[in-house]
C-alpha cells in the first residue's frame, strides 16, 4: 500500500485534473469552447486536454457562445456530456437564450425523457484588474432559473470534487469558477483526490458561536480573514461556505443561524436581487424567533462593475464585513 503525499496545487490545476479524470473515465465527456484546445484556455484550465484526448474531445469552437451552448445541447441530446467553457462571465450572456429556454427546461419539457447533462464553466468575479466585462458576478441570473444547478468552489479540493460531481450530474450545472482564486494554492493530493462530494451541501469552514458569515466562492477567503480579525473585537464568527447556490442547503444555513442568532451574507454580486436576498429572506422566515438582529448583507454595490482602479472600493472587504458585523445589535 503506497501513500502519495499531498503537494501544493492551485485551483487551476485541480480543475484541469478534474476534467482530465472525467474524460479518462467517460468517453462521453467532451470539452468545448473558445481557445480551449491548442491554447488550453486563456486561463489554461484546459491545458493539455486536446493533446491527451484529441481535438474531437477538447474542441476549439468558432467564436459564438450561443452556438457553443446550442451545439452542446444537441450533443447532450445524443448522449454526450459536454463541458462548455465560457471565456468570461460577461461573455456567457450571448448564450442566455439557449441556457434559459432550452438547457434549463429540456428535462421538464420532455418529462424526464431527455435530460441534458451539460456543465457550463463560467469564470466569474472581480479582483483581477480586468477591464469591463471581465469581472461580473452573474450568478443571480442563474439562480433565478429553475432547472439549473449553480455550483461554485472556494477551495482547491472543492474545485476538483465539485467539478467532478457537476460533470457526473445528469442535470445541467452552471459551474462558477472564482477566477480570483485560480492561482490560490493548497496542499492537495492529485493522485488520490478526496471523495467527490455531492452537490448541494454547505460546509462550515470555521466554527463560531456569535454570528454566521454565509458566503461562497471568491468571498470565502475574505470571510475567513474577517473572522480571524473579529476575534480581536470579541466576536466569535462561524463561516459557512455554501458551495452550491442551487440546490441551496437551507438545512445547514438554518442550523448555523439558529445556533448563532445572527447572520451576515457576503458576496461580490450586486446586492439588489443578488443571491444574498434569497438567503436573507429564507433565514428570516425559518429562524424568525432565533434572530437577535436582522440578517445583513455585505455585497458588491448596485452598480455596473467599476473600472479596475476602483474595484477595491466595490468589493466586500474585511473592514466592510467587520463594520457590518458590528451592526448586529450585540447590545441585546
Amino acid at each position: 500500500m503506497t501513500t502519495v503525499a499531498a503537494k501544493p496545487a492551485t485551483m487551476a490545476q485541480a480543475l484541469n485534473r478534474a476534467m482530465r479524470d472525467a474524460m479518462a473515465a467517460d468517453p462521453a465527456v467532451h470539452v468545448m469552447g473558445e481557445d480551449v484546445g491548442t491554447l488550453g484556455g486563456v486561463f489554461r484550465i484546459t491545458d493539455g486536454l486536446a493533446k491527451e484526448f484529441g481535438e474531437d474531445r477538447c474542441t476549439d469552437t468558432p467564436l459564438a457562445e450561443a452556438g457553443i451552448l446550442g451545439t452542446a445541447v444537441g450533443m447532450a441530446m445524443y448522449g454526450l456530456r459536454p463541458v462548455v467553457e465560457m471565456q468570461f462571465d460577461a461573455f456567457a450572456y450571448p448564450a442566455f437564450e439557449q441556457l434559459i429556454s432550452h438547457v434549463a427546461r429540456m428535462r421538464n419539457r420532455t418529462r424526464g425523457a431527455m435530460p441534458l447533462p451539460i456543465t457550463i464553466r463560467v469564470p466569474y468575479g472581480g479582483g483581477i484588474g480586468g477591464v469591463e466585462h471581465h469581472s461580473d458576478s452573474s450568478e443571480a441570473y442563474y439562480t433565478a432559473t429553475p432547472g439549473l444547478h449553480v455550483v461554485t468552489p472556494a477551495t482547491v479540493e472543492d474545485a476538483y470534487g465539485l467539478l467532478r460531481a457537476s460533470i457526473a450530474s445528469d442535470d445541467p450545472v452552471v459551474f462558477m469558477e472564482p477566477k480570483r482564486l485560480y492561482w490560490s494554492k493548497a496542499d492537495w493530493n492529485p493522485e488520490a483526490p478526496a471523495g467527490v462530494p455531492g452537490i448541494g451541501k454547505a460546509l462550515v469552514r470555521r466554527a463560531g458561536t456569535g454570528a454566521t458569515l454565509i458566503t461562497y466562492g471568491p468571498s470565502l477567503p475574505v470571510c475567513l480573514e474577517a473572522a480571524e480579525a473579529a476575534r480581536e473585537e470579541g466576536w466569535d464568527l462561524e463561516v459557512l461556505d455554501l458551495r452550491s447556490l442551487v440546490p441551496f442547503d437551507e438545512e445547514a444555513v438554518v442550523a448555523s443561524v439558529r445556533r448563532t442568532g445572527r447572520a451576515v451574507i457576503v458576496h461580490e454580486a450586486n446586492g439588489f436581487g443578488g443571491p444574498g436576498a434569497e438567503i436573507a429572506a429564507r433565514i428570516q422566515e425559518k429562524c424568525f424567533h432565533h434572530l437577535e438582529a436582522p440578517v445583513l448583507r455585505v455585497t458588491g454595490f448596485d452598480i455596473p462593475y467599476p473600472p479596475p482602479m476602483l474595484e477595491k472600493h466595490h468589493l466586500p472587504g474585511v473592514d466592510r464585513i467587520l463594520d457590518t458585523v458590528a451592526r448586529l445589535q450585540w447590545e441585546n
Partner: protein, 378 residues
Amino acid sequence: MTVQELPGAGASHRSTPPPAWRPRTDAAPLLPDPEPYRVLGTPAAEELDADLMRRFHAELVRGRRYNAQATALTRQGRLAVYPSTVGQEACEIAAALVLQEQDWLFPSYRDTLAAVARGLDPVQALTLLRGDWHTGYDPREHRIAPLSTPLATQLPHAVGLAHAARLRGDDVVALAMVGDGGTSEGDFHEALNFAAVWKAPVVFLVQNNGFAISVPLSKQTAAPTLAHKAVGYGMPGRLVDGNDVAAVHEVLSEAVRRARSGGGPTLVEAVTYRIEAHTNADDATRYRGDAEVEAWKAHDPVALLERELTARGILDEQAVQAAKDAAEEMAADLRERMNADPVLNPMDIFAHVYAEQTGRLREQADMLRAELDAEEQS
C-alpha cells in the same frame, strides 16, 4: 439595388496576394441556381418513381386533412392554438420521408405535420398546442426533437446532435426545419457556421412561406434568395419550388446523401406560401390581399401532384379515393381522441425539474398536495 462601380473590377495588374492567403473553397458550386428547381410540369417528371409518388400523394392528402382537422379542433376548443401548414404540405412531407429511421428531425413549432408524417401519433404531436405537456413523446424513441418555439434555436441542436453522431461513427443525419423569419436570428447564423466548420451531417430546410406572422420577406432580408446565405458559410445553397413535392424530395435527398457521405451540410430554401393565417388567432387580412393568396392556391402542392400523376396515369380515381378515405379515417380518429379531456396530474409540475427533487421543490410539492387534498375534501 445598384452596385456602384467598384475599384479594381477586372483589373489585370494584381501582384502576388499576401502570404498564407487563399480562398478556402470555390464559391461557384455553392451558389444556388437563380430559379427554384422544379420537377412537376417539366420533362423531368417523366422519370418519377410511381410508387414513391403515390406514397407522396397519399401523404399530401392526409397532411391536408390533418391541417383541416387541427384547425377545426381549435374552433372546438380542443387545441389552444394551431399554426397551419396548408400550402406547405409538400415541404413537410418531403422532409419527413427523406429521412431514414436512425436520422433525426428537428421541427419548428409549425412542423407537427412533418412529425406526424414521420410516424408520430398526431395526438402526441399536438400536446403542446393542446395546452398539455410540451412534448408528448419520447424524442429519442422517435428521433424527433421537441417542437421548438423560440425560432431558430433548434438549429444548433441539430448541428450538435449530427456532430456527436459523426464523432461516434454512427450513420445519422439531422434535418432541421426553420422559417424564413427564423433565418434572421443569430442562432441561424451560428448553427450554419458550426455545421460547415465541423462538416456536420445536417440539412437545413428553410420554408420560405412569404411571411413571419405579418412581416413579408422583403422586410426580412435583402438577399437575392435565402439560399444565397449558404455561400457565406461555405456550404451549398439550393433553391427549390416548395410546392413541388418531387422537387423538394429530390433536392433534400441529394443533401441528405451528401451529409451521409461526409460531404457536410446543405442549406435548402423551399419557396412556398402559407395559405392560412399565421395561426387560428391571427387575422391575415390585416397584412395581405386575396389576390396573392389566390395566385398561390393555383399552385397548390396537392393539386400539382395529383394533376401530374393523373395525367401520367400513375394515379387513378380509385387511388385518389383511397387516399381520401385513409385521410378521413385519420381525421375521425384524431377528432375522437382529441375530444377526450386529457388527464394531467398537477403534481407532475415538480417531477422533472431535476433528476432529484431539491428540498425547496419538495416543500412546494407538499404545499400543492395539501391544497389538492383540501380541494378534494370540500
